[in-house]
Structure formats: structure tokens, C-alpha cells
């Protein structure tokens, strides 16, 4: 239960920020050695929700692996589906019709807004302000209703197929999305006024958890963590896929490297997503939503394939080693939270405990995708 005198220099005690904790966004255990209120060493312990998705990739055919993708990061499931679809389309050389690509972009960006809303709400709730979460859930309900009408699920989607999407969107969806964008755009300044400008929140976030761009590079951090440290890197711009090159949007980058910067990156990304959705809706072409001549059983040629997307939390990529059969030989999933949280140990030394938890929240971890 208690262990004192870890070193002869100072008395420390070991605390377990246990797997069940309101502030760890999932089942993450952090073994913390503390000196009073300061952290001497914080070691995250993973594996509480490890389900071996990678082994499942080897035991299932390519088509049977679809449901696994959304169970990884359930908040950003569309991006994960997109990565898998892109991977196999790259391997088999399947051409996706433009309408499907635009639909994919719209859906993915709606998903991104929804994920950032939840991240924002849960983060402020960790810090003690319970109300913004409820506001964020309200917006999120609208998005989930829209997506449910088209895809059939609210959280774990299975909407993409190799070569397109399986269900076309209808006019209700387009009208609903436009109405949502119109309603949501003025909400973002309201959130800034109510939440971001709050003196107490600024005291909690500004200057907390500084991560330099060098540490990000060494640990492979990506997404808002990297962009909050001043590095302008977003897969949608640097390694474009789908129809992103044809859409006009900005990548928010902040240089302060603290938790406030990461929080602001997420808020701005929501606004940019609304821009993307609007343009994609305007440019939506007619046509089929599924490629023709997609084989029922895929047998990609031998070798390695790799595909990367920008999920809500950062760079998600998949690498598959195929041996020419209808199952994968090795499926490797690289989740952004894994790399983002791996820098927690180094970055949290010497922090106060409440600061460390605020810092962990700003990395926006989703533990199921970390453990896979």
C-alpha cells in the first residue's frame, strides 16, 4: 500500500493513478513516484484493454477485418476505416469514384468535429468545469444523428468498403449537414468566450506541460500535440490522400508548446473542418459510390504496403505484409495515442500532480487505440 524512502536523498511515495480513474480517458494506469506533490517518475502501464487486433488481422480475411478498425479509436472511427480502405486500394490498385471520395471526406470531417468536441468537453471536465461537456454533447448528438441516418451506427462505423462507400448519402443528409454547419459555426466563438477566456482555465493551461518540437520528433508525436509545438505537419497537407488537395483549408499551428496551444489547435481544427465540409458539399459530384470490378476475395500481390491518414488524434498508419493469400500475413496498426503518450514519462518529471493530469488530458488520449 505505501512505500517510503525510495532513495536516500528524499522520501518519496508511490501512488497509483489506477486503471479506473475519471481523468485518464480510459483504462490507463500510471505508476507515479512522488515527492510531496511533485512527480519524480511517472510510468504509464498499458495493456488493460489489449485485444490483439494485430493477431486478428492475421486470422481474418481482408474483408472480415473491417469491424476491428472502428473498435480501435471509437471516436475517430471514420479515419481508421479510411486508412484501411486506402491501404487495400493502394495494394490492389482500385480506383475510387470521385463521389465516394467526397462523401468519405465529408463523413471523416464530421467525425473529426465530433471527436474534438468530446475531447474538449472531457478535458474541461477533468479540470473541474462540468458544464462545457454538456454543451459539447448537444452538438455531438446532432452529428451522430446525421451519421446514423447514413451509416447505421452512432459510434463504431463500418461504412467504407474497398472501392468506395456502401451507402449513398441522400438529400436529407446534405440538408442536415448544411443546417448543422450553420448552427455550429457561431458556437465556436461562444466556446472561446465562455471557456477559453476564463481566467481560471487559462491559469490551468497556459505554461503547463511544455513539449518542444524536438521531443515530439524523437517520440513520433503527431496531430494536435505536434502542431501545438510549432511544427506544421498534417497528413492531409503533407501526404495528401483522397480529395484533400482540391479543398482549401488551413492547418492551425501554435508555437507556445503548452497545453493551451494544443487545446487551441483542436478548437481551430473544428472550424477548419466546417470549411472543408462546406466546400466538399458544394463540389459533390454525381456518380456511383462504389468502384466496379472489385474482387470479392482480395489477394494483393506479395510485399509491404503502408498507408497513413490524419485521424483526430494524429497520424494513424497501417502497414501490412501480404503473402498473396486472402488473409494478411502481418497487420501492424500504428496509433497516434501510443506515440503521444510515450512522451509522458519524460515530459512529466518534476511536474505537480494536477498539472500532470492536465497535461495528460491535453494529449487527448483514447486508451483503446493505444492498447489495440
Amino acid at each position: 500500500m505505501s512505500s517510503l524512502a525510495q532513495s536516500h536523498l528524499y522520501e518519496t511515495f508511490e501512488l497509483n493513478i489506477g486503471p479506473q480513474h475519471p481523468a485518464t480517458h480510459g483504462v490507463l494506469r500510471i505508476k507515479v513516484v512522488m515527492d510531496g506533490e511533485y512527480i519524480v517518475k511517472a510510468e504509464p502501464v498499458l495493456g488493460y484493454i489489449h485485444r490483439m487486433h494485430e493477431k486478428m488481422g492475421e486470422n481474418r480475411t481482408w474483408n472480415q477485418f473491417w469491424p476491428n478498425m472502428s473498435r480501435l479509436d471509437y471516436l475517430s472511427a471514420m479515419a481508421y476505416n479510411r486508412c484501411y480502405a486506402g491501404l487495400m486500394e493502394r495494394a490492389m490498385g482500385i480506383e475510387v469514384p470521385p463521389r465516394a471520395e467526397y462523401i468519405r471526406v465529408i463523413i471523416e470531417e464530421l467525425n473529426r468535429i465530433q471527436s474534438h468536441l468530446l475531447g474538449f468537453g472531457a478535458y474541461v471536465m477533468d479540470l473541474g468545469g462540468f458544464t462545457p461537456l454538456m454543451y459539447a454533447m448537444d452538438e455531438r448528438e446532432q452529428i451522430l444523428n446525421l451519421l446514423e441516418a447514413v451509416t447505421g451506427s452512432r459510434l463504431t462505423y463500418c461504412y467504407h468498403r474497398f472501392g468506395g462507400v456502401y451507402n449513398d448519402i441522400d438529400d436529407d443528409f446534405i440538408a442536415g449537414t448544411r443546417a448543422f454547419i450553420k448552427r455550429f459555426r457561431p458556437q465556436i466563438p461562444m466556446y472561446h468566450k465562455l471557456v477559453t477566456g476564463n481566467v481560471i482555465l487559462m491559469e490551468r493551461l497556459v505554461g503547463i506541460g511544455p513539449i518542444t518540437a524536438e521531443i515530439c520528433r524523437k517520440y513520433g508525436a503527431s496531430g494536435p500535440v505536434l502542431r501545438g509545438s510549432g511544427v506544421n505537419f498534417d497528413i492531409r497537407k503533407n501526404e495528401p490522400y483522397s480529395v484533400y488537395p482540391e479543398l482549401d483549408f488551413d492547418i492551425p499551428v501554435y508555437h507556445e508548446c503548452d497545453s493551451m496551444a494544443r487545446y487551441l489547435v483542436r478548437m481551430d481544427e473544428m472550424f477548419q473542418s466546417t470549411r472543408i465540409i462546406e466546400q466538399a458539399l458544394n463540389k459533390l459530384p454525381d456518380g456511383p459510390v462504389m468502384a466496379e470490378k472489385v474482387p470479392k476475395t482480395l489477394k494483393p500481390p506479395k510485399g509491404d504496403y503502408h498507408f497513413a491518414v490524419e485521424a483526430a488524434r494524429g497520424l494513424f498508419s497501417m502497414r501490412t505484409v501480404s503473402d498473396g493469400t486472402n488473409t494478411s500475413y502481418r497487420m501492424r496498426l500504428r496509433s497516434p495515442t501510443y506515440s503521444n503518450v510515450s512522451l509522458f514519462e519524460e515530459a512529466s518529471q518534476g511536474m505537480l500532480l494536477s498539472d500532470a493530469l492536465a497535461f495528460l488530458g491535453s494529449l487527448d488520449p483514447v486508451i483503446p487505440e493505444m492498447d489495440r
Binding site: H50, R217, Y219, G220, V231, D304, V321, R334
Partner: protein
């Protein structure tokens, strides 16, 4: 090393056009190989272990095959170039009696450039030096690879069970693992 210094002016050209990264990195690999390896595979032959791949088909730009003991030096070179480590993958080629360790590097400072470094070790004695001193992020990736595959990263500070429970004595991602 003179060779390393010689290539750094070329590296600054990496930021601008797209062919420059591929040429620059190719020449850098040529000069810094200790034991040049020739491996004939697929359609294209490798030059000193290096193969330029079709990005649209594969998803990465350069594929380098190295000896296990050259992996750390390659990591240091790529670290000097400003690349970041994305992931470390272990593949179990049970029919060939080998493990393959694949390192994915990418460049985040400008034009995207992906490098893949591979190394093969014997299945009976899977030892490979760790790159966690060069890239801190490799710490967790290598620990997980050991945990799930059983590949021993020599010099790793904490090669313990990570995703599996502490008392597990099996490596589930191996092809001969049966429940």
C-alpha cells in the same frame, strides 16, 4: 566522418524539390555502409541494400535492407536528417526461420519522405541492438515487439511485459503460437 559531412550540404536541398531527397539519401546510404549487401528480390535489384520504391504502389519512398548491427547507425543518420520514427514492426517468417524487424521513418519538416529500414535475425536467436538511445519513441515500440513477438532488443532499458500481463510466458504474434 568525412562522408557524413560531405552529404550535409546536399541535405539542405531536401527541403525543396522532390527528387532531391531521394537522390541525397541514396548517395548518403552508399557512402555510409560498412558491409555492402546485395540482395536480389522482386523485380528490381537492391543497390547496397537500398531500393527505391514506387510510392503510389507501396506507400513509402525508400526501402533499405541492413544487417542487424547496422541498424543503430542508420537510425543515427536518419536522426541527423531530422526524421522521426513512426513505428517498429516485427514480422515472423517462420518458413524461412527468420524474424524481420521493420523500422518506419518519416520526415516531418517539409516535403514528406518515408524511409523503411529492414533487418532480419535468426528465429533461434533473435538479437538486435536497440535504437531507443537515438529515438526515445522506440522504447515503447521495441518493448511491445519483444512482448508480442519475442525479438530481443539488446541494450533496451526495460524489456518487460507491456501489453500482456506480467506473468505471461508466451509471445502471441508468433506464427507457431497456438492457444
Amino acid at each position: 566522418m568525412l562522408a557524413a559531412e560531405g552529404v550535409s550540404p546536399e541535405e539542405s536541398a531536401k527541403k525543396k524539390p522532390e527528387q532531391a531527397p531521394q537522390e541525397a539519401a541514396a548517395s548518403e546510404k552508399d557512402q555510409d555502409k560498412k558491409a555492402p549487401k546485395k540482395k536480389e528480390e522482386e523485380e528490381k535489384p537492391r543497390v547496397n541494400g537500398l531500393l527505391e520504391t514506387d510510392y503510389a504502389k507501396r506507400g513509402f519512398h525508400i526501402d533499405v535492407k541492413l544487417n542487424p548491427d547496422q541498424v543503430v547507425k542508420a537510425a543515427e543518420i536518419l536522426d541527423g536528417e531530422g526524421m522521426t520514427l513512426d513505428m517498429v514492426t516485427g514480422v515472423d517468417w517462420i518458413n524461412e526461420g527468420q524474424f524481420e524487424i521493420i523500422y518506419d521513418y518519416s520526415y516531418t519538416g517539409g516535403v514528406l519522405f518515408r524511409t523503411v529500414v529492414r533487418a532480419r535475425v535468426d528465429r533461434a536467436k533473435p538479437d538486435i541492438p536497440t535504437i531507443s538511445k537515438v529515438f526515445g519513441g522506440a522504447n515503447w515500440h521495441e518493448r511491445e515487439t519483444w512482448d508480442l513477438m519475442g525479438i530481443n532488443f539488446v541494450g533496451h532499458p526495460q524489456l518487460e511485459r507491456f501489453l500482456l500481463p506480467e506473468d505471461a510466458d508466451f509471445h502471441p504474434l508468433r506464427k507457431d503460437f497456438k492457444t
